[in-house]
Point group: C2
Chain length 383, copies 2
Amino acid sequence: MTVTAPKGFRASGVTAGLKTSGNPDLALVVNDGPDHYAAAVFTSNRVEAAPVTWSRIVVGDGRVDAVVLNSGGANACTGPQGFADTHRTAELVADALGIASGDLAVCSTGLIGELLPVDKIESAVPQLVSAVTPDGGEDAARAIMTTDTVPKQAVVQRASWSVGGMAKGAGMLAPALATMLVVVTTDAVVDQSELDGVLRTATATTFDRIDSDGCQSTNDTVLLLASGASGVRPSQEDLIAAVTEVCGSLARQLIADAEGAHHEVAIEVRTAASESDALTVARAIARNNLFKCAIFGNDPNWGRIVAAVGTTDAVFEPQRLDVNVNGVQVCRGCGVGDDRSLVDLSEREVHVVVDLHAGDASATVWTNDLTHDYVHENSAYST
Amino acid sequence: MTVTAPKGFRASGVTAGLKTSGNPDLALVVNDGPDHYAAAVFTSNRVEAAPVTWSRIVVGDGRVDAVVLNSGGANACTGPQGFADTHRTAELVADALGIASGDLAVCSTGLIGELLPVDKIESAVPQLVSAVTPDGGEDAARAIMTTDTVPKQAVVQRASWSVGGMAKGAGMLAPALATMLVVVTTDAVVDQSELDGVLRTATATTFDRIDSDGCQSTNDTVLLLASGASGVRPSQEDLIAAVTEVCGSLARQLIADAEGAHHEVAIEVRTAASESDALTVARAIARNNLFKCAIFGNDPNWGRIVAAVGTTDAVFEPQRLDVNVNGVQVCRGCGVGDDRSLVDLSEREVHVVVDLHAGDASATVWTNDLTHDYVHENSAYST
């Protein structure tokens, strides 16, 4: 169960022929209400794709009736024609649904710098719209996959309301955000005015804390749609908790399926002077290619970790740095600690803990190792 | 010819047994004067190795009589014992040379977080000191190699004075500085007070503009030693030009021999509002793993270039960005330009030109592609 787990939502996924593989590449999520509230977080990349520009406008009034998503092409860096193509896609789908195109969000993912074959989308719209069902969530989740090897879905079920979600993303994972398209749905009754805060609170500690390869995309979009169909109004606290749980699950699924990754690495920075410092240090480590190669080689090369810490402006005294890898205190006081050969890195999940000894704040960022497979996938992707 | 090309310098390189390979690993450069002026630029990494801490103090008074350099161990993150080991190394070599240890700089390179076997250095010092000759530059250049495949040397010969240099560095190449040890020598007569400015001017546009893998080391050191032995005093302008030429040659040699690289990539950012903006944009591209993988795959994936540009705060309007790869204008106005299949990336050297259309400033940063060989070397390096 996925985006269609909450009441009031239908979805579909079909093959429009945008992907050369012939796999499904066009998805639709429809909010049947009674509410049609929406909030969104978009990439902070200044080079934003046409569908991001379009969807920013659509979400501006807080109402979204449906979202159409395609894989097989990012429609980024495609100029005025690209925006016209997004607009046309929205009109085609909106007409078929009998809604206003200004209430239809559009998401695209795939190669940057190629125009979308909108004629193929046009041909597929009747099938896409006729296929929407309350069970279509998984079809939609499959249709947005690019180099993902598995669809990403999550559901949190409360007594009489729920939150569901789907995500795609396997490379260009970096805050904020990752190269991801995410749709989160809920049938909770919620005021339109509080939805944006709920989503931003949830993404701040989930999608914004994964960094697979340091590369920020042009298309990232996280949409939260609320139908109110359960008739139940949870407290804001409960809603935030449920949306955060769904976003957290999807974020971990993205890291677990990141392109070519052999390890998922949690970098926990503790005893920092501030949460901001802890994040700065964790991200510096997460983006250090030498560290990421060492993890691929099952090598607890903590020198590369402290060298990365040393490039930041966080508050710490270098000679007090401690580093623990999978439970072994390999670096103590910025010097040689316990025997590094005691560290077992054979499992997929790795935990790195860095103590700055500068305060009480902490933060965790998830990343991946840098592998032959990452290089292979990303040197061959567009050709 | 190398650091011993200028008059007044002798050098040597021997095998102390610090490297398991049995290759030379201990080098010495001696300045016989009559002047013993020196300037230095060190890593800005806050986690600095013991020899960096030591050499900062030595260079503090502007006088350096000799420099001893070892490969086979960085002596970084080795605590008080590491500093004592550097001190001991300096005393052993200074005693053998009959100079004060406070006038002897020390440089180390290799794995971080391991103590140096100073007993092996002690045993090798008599041989090291007795081997110094006016022809020993190449031996010294070979003894500082780590994963370098070739020694890096450069000489600029003027009418009656010269500048020579040697460098090592093959990974962790990032400003400022790269993982590099560099010794530059000159027999020009120069005031001690102007030497620091000469070196900083030269490094700012050479070593500070190469970024192989975004990783900044704990040991980077660039030393400039002036003997005055030519008896000729060039203008400051001429001296800066010659030192910059030597540093530029060494910097390009570092990029050409970077770990696992298949391409050397010049990223030229033009029509920027400021040189700082141009550098910011060039560095963002140089650190983008997806772009670096694409170059490895001979794929002119300009979407990854504009996506990297979009992450910066430089002044530009996204819709005006132009990108040229090896002479083909693949992106025009942030949209599809000429056919990307016209780009030939089969040669080792690649030129990327980005136009921001925001002013008259420009800057070029050199980087490498991200390859299977890079991942291989850096996942297996310390084990």
